[in-house]
Symmetry: C2
Subunit: 137 residues, 2 copies
DNA sequence: CTACTTTTGCAACATTGATGCAATTAACAC
DNA sequence: GTGTTAATTGCATCAATGTTGCAAAAGTAG
């Protein structure tokens, strides 16, 4: 759970001003164990903001590597705070088809998919779909 | 390279009528070694079709597992014919950051990403980004 | 508090996904 | 080939989202 001074500091360290929209987004995502949709976040924001402002806030935060965006099934869009291990490991997302939840999973193990001759990989995006723990029980 | 009778037969086996739009899309994708954007396909179609028709044709073909859709970087959308091995193996896409090409890669090896307790996977979507053979040379 | 720079809100526009409905077309039987 | 029927198209229309320009408002440093 991120507190205001921490958020302020985080933004400041990226040369970003502390605005209620950015602060709210980071706070909401920081308190969530799963990725959230734009709607989820908008309804949780205490102050109303223009659509463009929210859009630009997402963009700024993404550009500064504070959050990231995940698209599932080509149309479901969710956002998540970048975890501490964000850049160290392969980034894997798990999507539960039953409850629609999307969570980030730390994967220390390289996926290790063999590529044809001459191809070289720099990034790998993985979305695993299935059933989460809660829905299995 | 798919010929018209083959396409007709393919559509028929899925209880779909042979329309010039569907036929055109399948023909174009069948002759392409890479995934194409909606624009790519539209410009290659000989007859003009309404936006909705093309949209619905994609939808129908996707629903019937004849083609699939790939989203890269959350905004680039491409379509590809479903290869013969489509359902047998993990489906891996390779996206070349330099030339923007997107190709399907057959991956016999399971990605084998470890999931937390209680989570079970049914599908895995993988996009590998990097440099393709042509751009490396 | 002031000055300066960033950020917001609004207008505006493009693209894409999606649906209802009447007109058109494909497929099948004859 | 013609006719019948059901699928498909084209058009209108709407919602959601991405994007930009610009003047007003707000954040920050001194």
């Amino acid at each position: 759970m991120k507190k205001e001074p921490a958020i302020r500091e985080l933004l400041h360290s990226h040369n970003l001003r502390t605005t209620s929209c950015r602060q709210g987004i980071l706070d909401i995502l920081g308190n969530s164990s799963e990725a959230l949709t734009e709607q989820d976040i908008k309804t949780q924001l205490d102050s109303q903001h223009d659509r463009t402002t929210v859009y630009r806030s997402f963009k700024t935060l993404i550009d500064n590597n504070l959050i990231h965006k995940i698209v599932v099934d080509n149309n479901l869009v969710k956002y998540a705070l970048n975890p501490k291990w964000y850049s160290q490991h392969d980034h894997v997302h798990f999507y539960c088809k039953q409850c629609d939840k999307l969570v980030c999973i730390e994967s220390e193990q390289q996926a290790g998919i063999p590529l044809p001759e001459g191809f070289s990989a720099s990034e790998t995006e993985i979305i695993i779909k299935g059933t989460c723990k809660t829905c299995t029980e």
